[in-house]
């Protein structure tokens, strides 16, 4: 306990502005009276930017993402999206799941169009939109395949296309690349950035990989181990228009990775 107190760093001041599409105010989550997953989180997610929640396993980053998604209720505090109080899932938010959450009995086309199907869109219309996004995520020609016929990386592309197809303002991605191999992961990160530069979405990203966080994010929020608290916010200030190699060799990238590692190392001691 003494060690934990030693490492506690004053909470980051809440930064709310009109620019934030998602605002988290005083959110805490207790699973049982004595298990605190999150404690007093105050956080703003700027519109059109990619914010990553980074921290060790069990720090509540996925819990926070699910609270914002409206899939979990906070014990205390509120979440606002576009100024509206979140009381459950909404059409302005779309979720990409760690384990893909694809329907194995449905084709890629039906999976991708599923969000639109639930909104009652006509079949022709939703299939047309789905086909466009299947192409955009690089799966052209795979529309009639079933998930078990695809590799892990391709399945997550289906998950991404499904989230994009509903045209939500906010994309929430829960460790989307953790179940795919490293080369697929890197390719996927680049493709994601390219896609986002066209689509202009706000992305909330959860990962435990420092390199991934720095590579893809505009803003990185470091969470402390349980109970999860905001420890620090880092803005790597990386020019995402540059090539992958330039980014990974750039000073800002390397400094940010180092800074975050230094911060996270504190939890291990």
């Amino acid at each position: 306990m003494a060690i934990a107190e030693q490492n506690t760093i004053p909470l980051a001041a809440p930064t709310f502005s009109d620019n934030n599409i998602v605002e988290v105010k005083g959110v805490s989550k207790f699973y049982e009276p004595d298990i605190q997953a999150l404690l007093d989180i105050n956080l703003g997610f700027p519109k059109g930017q990619m914010t990553t929640l980074l921290g060790p396993s069990g720090c509540g980053k996925t819990t926070l993402l699910k609270i914002i998604a409206g899939l979990l209720e906070p014990t205390e505090g509120d979440v606002f999206v576009n100024g509206q109080l979140v009381t459950g899932p909404g059409p302005e938010r779309a979720f990409v799941f760690q384990d893909f959450a694809l329907m194995p009995w449905a084709t890629v086309l039906r999976n991708v169009s599923f969000g639109l199907e639930l909104r009652g869109m006509a079949k022709d219309e939703r299939y047309e939109i789905a086909r466009r996004y299947i192409t955009n995520v690089g799966l052209e020609g795979f529309g009639e395949k079933y998930p078990h016929e695809l590799s892990g990386g391709m399945r997550q592309r289906v998950g991404l296309a499904r989230a994009m197809a509903v045209d939500a303002d906010v994309l929430m991605m829960d460790e989307p690349f953790s179940a795919v191999d490293e080369q697929t992961r890197r390719q996927f990160q680049e493709d994601l950035l390219n896609l986002l530069s066209i689509e202009k979405k706000t992305v909330l990203f959860v990962t435990h990989s420092i390199e991934e966080a720095v590579y893809v994010s505009d803003q990185i929020v470091l969470l402390s181990p349980r109970p999860g608290r905001i420890n620090k916010t880092v803005r790597p200030d990386i020019d995402h228009a540059a090539s992958s190699d330039e980014i990974r060799r750039g000073k800002n990238y390397l400094d940010s990775v180092e800074e975050i590692w230094h911060e996270l190392k504190g939890y291990l001691e």
Binding site: G70, G90, F95
Partner: protein, 251 residues
Amino acid sequence: MKIFGFQIPSVFSLLIWAGVWEVIGQLEWVFIFPPLSGVLIELWDLVGTNAFHKASISTLKSFCYGMFFAITGGVSLGFFMGRVDAANKLLGMWVNIFASAPLSSLVPVLILLFGLGQTTIIVTVVLFAIWIITLDTLAGIKHVSPSLIEMGQSFGASRWNLLYKILFWAALPEILAGIRMGFIRAVKGVIIGQLLVSIIDFGQMFATFSRNLYMEEFWALTLVLFVFALGISSLIGEMEKRVEYYAGVRD
């Protein structure tokens, strides 16, 4: 099965046992085993009789009505228990007891309640089949990946949509397995019901044949029912194969 490196089709095993039966029957060792050839000739005659037609139609009717109630009831109950924890806690023990209890002993009580007729047979079929369907549906619902449910919710699925667009399909492999086992139990149920009620249909025929030691007729009728049960089971098995491709890849 392989003999001397040659693949032997499984139907050969059936033929071998049929041969053994024929030999034992011809040797007249045990009177309850008449030769298979005699049984088959009797089967041919039996299938042509009016009594058999009448019994078949009536039995099939009881069977279908019973299975209809068992499937709709069992699947609904399984869904309900799978989605409402309190219901599972309240009913789980009873469903398990009924699934493993010797239900034949309840038939006399059913006769008292529903009389010596088709209603009793239908209720017996339901009682025999419903519990395994309930338990398998429950297992299927519990097996559905939580993230698939969250996926539905996050895209705004209503409770009804979640039920029939996600949960039903995700649990379908287990539901079909339950229905297949339910069918096999229902065959037992319909015959045990008829035997205990004893004055109708196949039950009456069985009672007459065994009482009068008409062993050829007895075995002929038994064969008919075996083939029927096997046929139904293979039919559902085929349906199961069509969803098998995703049963193993859901996690």
